[in-house]
């Protein structure tokens, strides 16, 4: 039994998004949706976070930033790509400087569709990510039992 789904802290990164999805992510924290009901906090520090929420498409400028944030997060961790751009590149897919979705750089666990993604969809995506988080914790525990150095 893990406590990860009871207290998911998320770090949000805006990768060349148009700010539409970012405003919707922040809307989840407002009194109307109040995701703190489920213990979700927007933590800002990757070392404290469990869920990495990325909005916007990947380009040459933010590629290393996304990798850096992902590498700094403590295991177990999950990645949620919010919006069409983060999932596939969206309408910027054909741009000369855009490399596509976030899954070009880091492994993505949950894709949230929409342009911009609705707060309800984002909350649903985070809830699905909690299931993945739990699964990863169980797997890491099994692996830890096999290799004792953890």
């Amino acid at each position: 039994m893990s406590y990860l789904p009871k207290s998911p802290w998320l770090v949000h990164y805006d990768a060349s998004s148009c700010n539409g999805c970012d405003i919707e992510v922040l809307a989840c924290l407002t009194p109307l949706y109040d995701v703190e009901r489920f213990g979700v906090l927007n933590i800002g520090n990757p070392k404290h976070a469990d869920i990495f929420v990325v909005t916007g498409s990947v380009n040459e400028q933010n590629r290393s930033v996304i990798q850096n944030i992902y590498n700094q997060m403590a295991e177990p961790k999950v990645v949620v790509a919010v919006g069409a751009c983060a999932s596939s590149g969206g309408i910027f897919r054909e741009c000369y400087n855009v490399q596509g979705g976030v899954d070009n750089v880091i492994p993505v666990d949950v894709y949230v569709s929409g342009c911009a993604a609705r707060p309800e969809a984002i909350i649903d995506g985070v809830v699905q990510a909690l299931g993945v988080l739990e699964q990863k914790y169980e797997e890491s525990k099994k692996k830890g039992a096999e290799t004792s150095h953890v």
Binding site: S2, K6, S7, P31, D34, E36, R37, K47, H48, P76
Partner: protein, 289 residues
Amino acid sequence: MSDYLWILFVVLYIVLAPFIGGMIAGIDRKITARMQGRYGPPLLQPFYDVLKLMQKENIVVNKHQKLYVLCSLIFIIVAGAIFFAGGDLLLSIFALALASIFLVIAAYSTYSPYAYLGAERELIQIMAYEPMVILTIVGMYIATGSFSVTDIGAYEGLLVLKLPAMFVGFVYILTIKIRKSPFDISMSHHAHQEIVRGLTTEFSGKELAYIEISHWYENVMLLGLVYLFFASNPILAVLVLVATYFLEILIDNVNSRLKWQSVLFSTWLVAFVLGIANIAVLGFLKYFL
């Protein structure tokens, strides 16, 4: 039999303080949410957070950092144990100061610019609240003639009537100690969106959980200090404790963070005006009445 009663108090403190501190934190988050028009997390959310942190990977930057964080936790427990055993109040407060210093060293040991910034601001905080804490204890000594918590607790009559300005001053710096706005300059529970998470920037997993637990121990001990002002009337004392904590939550929610200069200047002003005036009046009463 009663000679060994202090052992019971120490054991009760070590066992119960994290639960009481965690529950206070949970109620705090609920009330804060209601003040902001939100529903708020469950009451047990602080416990979920700490239990989750225990299950996370521990990223270690410097292999000694865990030692310092653990030392901080241990000395806060020691400070509280001395306090609840009825020991020397001065010794208890210096043990608490040592715990704060260990936390600062822990942050320095990570070699991160963000943690450095947090550590330096924490040092400024320590400088800001320490004079008032010492003056409070000196005031208690002048009023009761003893540094022992047992003797101060057994003082007949309300101690706050002799130390009214001191009490106000102590509640003022309590805002720093329980890390509330406008004085949460080194690390805050609410500024989650900030990249610079002060002291705790480089701590993850178990270490962050230890820091949180030590904060709960510390809060319980500080509320014990507030209790001392009203020790002769336990019902009134508990009511004042609740009122004081509610006031801190209210202040936390209606204020934004101050610059460190304002924190240092205002707390020293409060300490020197309220603290020294109170001691002067006490001394005057002692010699001329």
